[in-house]
């Protein structure tokens, strides 16, 4: 039974999922962005007929291929974990999770695998235009694959387009378009893929900077910085825009996460956005959770209100409003949500009893309740709260989210500056002379990976304790297996993924050091 669930099992299962997701995400964003950079470079080759562009494209294609090969199928491990460690969740989400993942599988298999082969093997076998089309289709296919995964992930944060079937204990999709056009999915997709574009652009600019520092492959480096600089600058501005839209959506569908991102405990009008700040315990507590004060803060007055309500005087609820409720602002207290969730759960218990007793009349009326909008909107919507006994249990780890968010945003602005300076120096033909900039660009490569991972830390840690927002807490989702077996596979994955990452880095470093000239000779 859920009440007897082993907390170490929950924590190890979470740690294992986090480990695999973090490693998986080390490979994905480079594929998403570099595929488009390749397409731009090859387009330049086909349009100009300049063989140097072909050489440049082939060099970056090698690095793309290494990353693609090492990263391919690492996401499947996450699916293994759903079936083994998270069986209650997997069953409960039903086809809503399965359908987008199936579309992703088919798209990934047919689009990517077919055209990746043409991209790598087809240089002298197919026409220039067909090859270029294949490169573009790989880029589009890879990004469309991400779309379906992110739709599934967004549903967990804002479950829409479904109806719960008490007979099967599964959610059934009743509106595919609601699932696909879920506002969280749209924000998540645009923000995630554009952040992948930024990472890939930083990667290309950084490696090119390394060539310039070593006075090698100067034409390749300059042209690559030009292409990646434009793509990176446009993408990083888009990341800022989609991040803003994402924050607005989060403030509506996951207000506790939003309050945690800002460490905002007291709701206020004309709320300012904290640019920099340090959290320190105030001595006050909400249940067992510490309340933090933001010290040494630099704030932009009114910006948080503008971001969430569009009005500088708009009211932004704080953590205390969201936990204790604020009737004036139409905010339900968590204790009220717990009561409503318990009622919904009692209806499910009654349904189960009626089924066991063969009471058809009660069965029919109880089943109808789950299709009734009044019940679903006011009670079943809070089903997951029934598993909590204290209101403070719905508060996530505020400092982790607060600092991760700030670091991610700060790095995002650093990358905007990086691309702008790169393009400025390129236009003035001063790239080679500004060695400080080249070193900065090179050392930005790990920072881009850090920013990308921090984005996921904010989104996934921020939605704790939920695996499905308001419907299912993480501790209810786990399978009844031993924590020991999860520990064993945790370390197995740690070894496997570390080996894969080491292999990727070592093969990439070798190919980068060889450069495009050796690459041609190797063949």
């Amino acid at each position: 039974m859920i009440e007897n669930i082993d907390l170490s099992l929950v924590n190890w299962s979470r740690a294992q999922f986090a480990l695999t997701a973090i490693y998986h995400w080390l490979f994905v964003p480079l594929t998403l962005g570099l595929s488009f950079i390749l397409a731009f470079m090859e387009t330049a080759y086909v349009r100009t007929g300049d063989e140097t562009w072909k050489k440049i494209t082939k060099f970056w294609m090698t690095l793309f291929g290494i990353n693609f090969a090492i990263g391919v199928a690492t996401g499947i491990i996450l699916e293994f974990e759903f079936g083994t460690n998270w069986s209650n969740y997997s069953w409960f989400v039903g086809d809503i999770f399965g359908a987008p993942l199936a579309v992703e599988g088919i798209l990934a298999f047919f689009l990517e695998s077919t055209f990746v082969a043409v991209m790598f093997f087809g240089w002298n076998k197919v026409g220039k235009k067909f090859h270029l089309a294949s490169t573009w289709l790989v880029a589009i296919g890879a990004n469309l694959s991400a779309l379906w995964i992110l739709i599934a992930n967004a549903w967990m944060e804002n479950p829409v387009g479904m109806i719960f079937n008490p007979d099967t204990a599964r959610n059934e999709m009743n509106s595919f378009s609601d699932v696909v056009f879920n506002p969280v999915a749209i924000d998540k997709f645009t923000h995630t893929v554009t952040s992948g574009f930024v990472l890939a652009s930083v990667f290309v600019v950084g490696i090119s900077a390394w060539f310039l520092l070593h006075r090698r492959e100067e034409i390749l480096a300059r042209r690559s910085i030009y292409v990646a600089g434009i793509f990176g600058l446009a993408s990083s501005l888009l990341v800022a825009m989609t991040g803003d839209s994402s924050a607005r959506t989060i403030s509506k569908v996951q207000p506790v996460k939003f309050a945690a991102m800002e460490a905002l405990y007291e709701g206020q009008n004309n709320a300012g956005l904290t640019v920099i700040g340090a959290l320190s315990g105030s001595g006050e507590k909400i249940g067992e959770k510490e309340v933090y004060d933001t010290k040494m803060k630099i704030q932009i007055p009114g910006l948080l209100s503008v971001m969430t309500t569009g009005n500088p005087d708009g009211y932004v609820p704080g953590m205390k409003d969201l936990i204790n409720g604020n009737p004036e602002k139409g905010i339900l207290s968590v204790s009220e949500m717990i009561e409503r969730g318990k009622y919904a759960r009692q209806v499910l218990i009654d349904f189960k009893m009626a089924k066991e007793l063969g009471d058809r009349e009660s069965l029919a009326s109880l089943e109808a309740k789950f299709a009734d909008k009044e019940f679903t909107d006011n009670y079943f919507k809070y089903f997951g709260y029934s598993y909590f006994t204290n209101v403070w249990q719905v508060i996530p780890a505020v400092p982790v989210i607060f600092y991760s968010f700030r670091l991610m945003v700060g790095l995002g602005f650093l990358f905007i500056a990086l691309f702008a300076v790169a393009l400025f120096l390129y236009s003035r033909e001063q790239l080679e002379r500004r060695r400080w900039f080249l070193w900065l660009a090179f050392f930005c490569i790990p920072l881009a990976y850090l920013a990308s991972e921090l984005g996921w830390v904010v989104t996934e840690m921020g939605r704790q304790p939920w695996i499905i927002q308001n419907l299912m807490p993480v501790h209810v989702a786990v399978s009844n297996i031993s924590a020991g077996s999860v520990q064993v596979t945790f370390f197995l994955f740690a070894v496997l993924f570390t080996a894969l990452l080491t292999a990727e880095i070592s093969i990439m470093i070798r190919q980068i050091k060889n450069g495009p000239k050796h690459q041609e000779e190797e063949k």
Partner: protein, 83 residues
């Protein structure tokens, strides 16, 4: 009629041959990193599907229950917390 069928067959076999040659020549003339990458892919897939999936990641509900009805009952039991 027969002629056009023959032509279509010839075109199809030429296409199939071209696709085969694309892969065959591609794999044969693969670079050092390409061969290394394929080796890693194969080792990784073997570890994932023949070791991890088989021995460490059985599907919990499929392994422990024979039918969807049993699986539903089990999950409802878990959700309601009542035996």
């Amino acid at each position: 009629m027969r002629n056009s069928k023959m032509k279509r067959m010839t075109r199809l076999s030429a296409t199939a041959n071209n696709i085969f040659r694309l892969y065959y020549d591609g794999f044969r003339s693969m670079s050092w990193w390409g061969r290394r990458a394929w080796l890693i892919i194969i080792v990784k897939l073997v570890i994932m599907f023949l070791i991890l999936k088989l021995f460490f990641f059985p599907d919990f509900l499929n392994t422990n229950f024979g039918s969807d009805e049993e699986r539903s009952e089990y999950v409802i039991e878990q959700l309601t917390g009542n035996k």
